[in-house]
């Protein structure tokens, strides 16, 4: 897991980035702290034609149908000079209210692709539901599939390619999770407290006789 601002590794339950101190509040300060009402496919940059929109919506719906817990959102827009697309994606998925997503499906189940045609950058963020199952490398592979198309300005085709690859990854992860759920659960287990760890190590090294004596005293 990486910090959206400094891109340094952070631990699972970090309340703020241990390297730069980044939190959602910093993103709120930049982009606003109010709820944003958008649709799953929001083309603020106007890079998708009508026919393209339909194709993209169809691909998004296909993923939603195949993975009932998950939904995909796509946002295109110019993020301004100082904007950082990684921070923006993180902020948008936390602050947006998707009008066309059922209320029983929270943003934790969302996968958001953000495209900035002005700065020519795209990013992908995902909610806590998929946190154990998706890696940064997975999202990188999805975006890589679209890279050649986006270079030529064929945004819709790029999105379709990315979604197709995402579909494949999600299917694979779902099958793996069904076979070995513990493997994924371990990835999100709360980190062990340092004090507990030291106590357990020390207990492990204590001689058996001393341990018994201690037990007697305690009793």
């Amino acid at each position: 897991m990486k910090c959206p601002r400094c891109v340094q590794r952070i631990h699972r339950a970090a309340a703020s980035c241990p390297h730069c101190g980044f939190t959602l509040a910093d993103a709120d300060a930049r982009f606003g702290d109010e709820e944003v009402r958008i649709r799953c496919l929001t083309d603020s940059a106007g890079i998708l034609r009508r026919g393209d929109r339909e194709k993209v919506e169809l691909a998004m719906e296909r993923i939603t149908r195949r993975f009932p817990q998950v939904f995909v959102a796509i946002y295109t827009g110019s993020l301004g000079e100082v904007a950082n697309i990684r921070q923006f994606g993180f902020w948008l998925l936390n602050r947006s209210a998707f009008e066309d997503v059922p209320v029983e499906k929270p943003n934790e189940a969302g996968i958001l692709i953000t495209i900035d045609p002005e700065s020519k950058a795209a990013g992908m963020v995902f909610g806590y539901l998929l946190d154990p199952f998706l890696e940064e490398s997975d999202t990188f592979e999805c975006l890589s599939r679209a890279h050649a198309y986006w270079l030529e300005g064929r945004y819709a085709e790029g999105i379709l390619r990315a979604l197709k690859h995402l579909d494949g990854i999600l299917r694979k992860r779902s099958r793996q999770a069904r076979r070995d759920p513990e493997h994924f659960e371990r990835k999100v287990m709360p980190p062990v407290q340092m004090g507990d760890l030291v106590r357990r190590i020390r207990a492990g090294h204590r001689p058996v006789a001393e341990e018994e004596a201690t037990a007697e005293v305690l009793s």
Partner: protein
């Protein structure tokens, strides 16, 4: 060298003198008078235009009287007779043919004959109008004593309706079509003409004579199907091309007689094979449908929120597509804020 001009001048003058022709001799009148008085001038006969005195007059030559050749003596045409030899006539025209392909002269090779006959048999099994084909040589003529219309009426009035074709091998354009009396009224002459014309055109697509006949028969068979529809009074469906039938006829014409057993086998196995094929297809379709309709679920684990985000902190990759010179592979290891613009 001093005398060169003089010598040159002398030479030139000598040449000029040599070029002048000598004049002819001329009579001295006095000398001539003396010779005439003597009674003879040598060469006077030859050198005068006056007629030779006392020469006898010869009568004009009469034309030669040559006896004209008698009609029986005049040589006949060198080309052999084009009429079909008399010995073959009974086989052609004595009775209603027992096979659909009549070739008593053996103009077709046995293999070609077999193939064409098998096609005509197939046609007869599939159509209510038979097709009889008389094969004759490209240069041959039907003897004048044979009256085709009368023969058709005599042999083909009874039995199944038939189309009779006189086909001239190597000269399809000479072909003639007759219809048995029972269908003559129903099928217009224009339709007959069209059938013949299209068949001839099809025949000319090939060079070899047997192949021409094959194409001719296939097309004629197709046109007969149209006639059949006309007889049924289904003129509306005649307009629509009976492509299925066309395909079937063409397909049937293609295999040779050697493959007939294979056709038979295919006919017998068609239903089980179709059943098996349909089953396999259904299994595949079911598998495909199942694959499409399958739903994937993820276990819902408790994840502690990070960075103050209530819903998400799973920051994935960011990729730049500003330049083709920066491929995705070079962006895999992302540096902090590398996409931030100044």
């Amino acid at each position: 060298m001093r005398f060169f001009p003089v010598i040159a001048t002398a030479v030139l003058m000598a040449n000029a003198y040599a070029l002048v022709e000598p004049t002819l001799p001329v009579w001295d009148l006095k000398q001539r008078a003396e010779l005439e008085a003597a009674g003879w001038i040598p060469g006077a006969i030859l050198l005068t235009d006056a007629p030779v005195p006392d020469e006898p007059q010869q009568p004009a030559a009469e034309p030669l009287q040559v006896e004209q050749p008698k009609p029986e003596e005049i040589a006949g045409d060198l080309k052999p007779s084009t009429d079909i030899a008399e010995k073959f006539l009974p086989a052609y025209f004595a009775e209603r043919p027992k096979t659909f392909l009549i070739d008593p002269q053996g103009l077709l090779s046995p293999a070609d004959y077999r193939d064409r006959l098998s096609f005509l048999n197939y046609h007869a099994s599939d159509s209510s109008i038979d097709l009889f084909v008389y094969v004759m040589g490209g240069e041959q003529d039907i003897p004048s004593e044979v009256r085709e219309e009368e023969m058709i009426e005599r042999f083909f009035s009874a039995g199944r309706p038939a189309v009779v074709v006189y086909y001239y091998l190597g000269a399809p354009q000479r072909s003639v079509v007759y219809l048995s009396p029972s269908i003559t009224d129903s099928v217009s002459a224009a339709e007959q003409h069209r059938a013949l014309e299209s068949s001839v055109m099809q025949a000319f697509e090939k060079i070899r004579h047997p192949e021409q006949l094959e194409k001719f028969l296939v097309q004629m068979s197709i046109r007969i199907y149209w006639m059949e529809r006309m007889l049924a009074g289904d003129s509306a469906s005649v307009a629509a091309a009976p492509s299925a039938r066309v395909a079937a006829v063409r397909k049937a014409a293609a295999p040779s007689a050697k493959l007939l057993w294979l056709q038979e086998l295919a006919r017998k196995c068609a239903f089980p094979a179709a059943l098996a094929g349909g089953g396999v297809l259904a299994v595949f379709a079911f598998g495909f449908w199942r694959r499409l309709s399958v739903r994937y679920r993820f276990p819902d684990f408790e994840v502690e929120p990070r960075l103050g985000g209530a819903h998400a902190a799973g920051v994935g990759a960011v990729i730049s597509f500003a330049s083709a010179a920066v491929p995705p592979a070079s962006q895999r290891d992302q540096v902090p804020d590398y996409l931030r613009r100044a």
